[in-house]
């Protein structure tokens, strides 16, 4: 693949043509905040935390869905970007009922961690306090809409890795919901294989193991790399 040269935070760097800007920034050791991105799944540019400034354009670009280009001039942590990142996190907290102290994923939550890392010390917006249900119809897992940030990692892993496509989105804007099947109780879904991949990739306490209580839930993403290495390179590491 041809090499492209670009400037990141005033330093000349090179990347592979076709590579996403986010993957290059990660290779360079620049810590980029992300929530919807997960190594091994397709990117959708949904959470907007990985936004960067590109010289010559007023608009901001999500690095995960922006390919590297020759001559690009990129800034990753300007005051403007940091302010927007904080604003996004505050809006996520205001949109649903993220009460960390009583969440099953307290202490292991990517939303909680990103808020702390990006300097969110309070939420300046009114909390919407939506009256959202939980779906505890599945024999192994629980879906809590109160904690969902609509990152769609569950939708993508079920479709792209498991091949079942149980999950999808319904509605628009703040009324969007993750749904199982054609908006039926998860436990009634015939297509769900009960594999639990959706639970493991969920960044918050929205998808959890049944029976877990406050701060008990920890997620493992390792399986994604293992499956993809096996499928793509035929290397199955059983050690």
């Amino acid at each position: 693949m041809p090499v492209v040269t670009l400037t990141v935070n005033d330093e000349l760097v090179s990347g592979q043509s076709g590579q996403s800007l986010l993957s290059l920034l990660k290779e360079l050791g620049i810590e980029m905040p992300t929530l919807c991105h997960l190594e091994g799944l397709s990117d959708r540019g949904g959470c907007r935390l990985c936004m960067v400034e590109l010289q010559g354009s007023k608009r901001l670009f999500a690095a995960c869905v922006t390919p590297v280009q020759e001559g690009m001039v990129v800034y990753t942590h300007t005051e403007r970007l940091n302010n927007y990142r904080r604003m996004i996190l505050e809006l996520l907290f205001a949109e649903r009922n993220h009460v960390c102290a009583v969440c099953v994923q307290n202490g292991h939550c990517e939303l909680q961690t990103q808020a702390a890392k990006n300097g969110m010390d309070s939420v300046r917006y009114d909390y919407l306090v939506p009256d959202l249900p939980m779906d505890a119809s599945h024999e192994r897992y629980v879906l809590d809409h109160n904690r969902c940030i609509l990152c769609t990692r569950c939708v993508r892993v079920c479709d792209e890795i498991e091949g079942a496509h149980v999950w999808d989105l319904m509605g628009r804007g703040v009324n969007s919901r993750v749904i199982a099947g054609l908006n039926q109780p998860w436990g009634d879904s015939d297509s769900c294989t009960k594999c639990g991949k959706c639970v493991q990739v969920c960044p918050t306490g929205a998808l959890t193991l049944r029976g877990s209580t406050v701060a008990e839930m920890e997620k493992q993403h390792d399986f994604l790399k293992w499956i993809l290495t096996g499928r793509e390179k035929k290397q199955w590491d059983y050690s």
Partner: protein, 197 residues
Amino acid sequence: MARKQTNPREDAAPAAPPSNGKIRLATVWMGGCSGCHMSFLDLDEKLLDLFAQADLVYSPIADLKEFPENVDVTLVEGAIANVDHVKLAKEIRERSKIVVSFGDCAVTGNVTSLRNRLQVDDLLTKVYHEGPGSVPHGDDDDIMPALLPRVIPLHQLIKVDAFIPGCPPDTDRIWTAVSALLAGQPVEFEPEMRLFG
């Protein structure tokens, strides 16, 4: 959109000398479980260092009825949940140089705000009508303060100069914040000390 929420008010002078040279410190218990105050007491021997530099002029552990004038630093535990909290919060703001949201309930509403999806009347029915005893209303009896329709974090009612997150904040966080305030510095936390929950 830049704002300095972690910094004390620029016009505030935290080290302004009171008569005996000590900082006038207040701690307040609003809509919370008192866990933040328990964590405050867990400062243990650091409390001796603290009170070498500060006088506790109002606190649930000091039994003073009126919130005093000329307070340098006030730590507020708990969310704003009833009409008494609203009144006290406004007094605190008028009489304190620096107001600090102390713990997750003051900062976010947290557990206290879990009732926000219910109507206040339904809430009282659940707790009282369906339980033993009669229902306190608060509107007319002047005994029970009436509940607000919605619990809100402190900074949605009054201006707040610094935030100490945590449920409860551990002693390291409290000491980091308090020692900065005693020294007249802004409260700044490392990311891991800024985690909610």
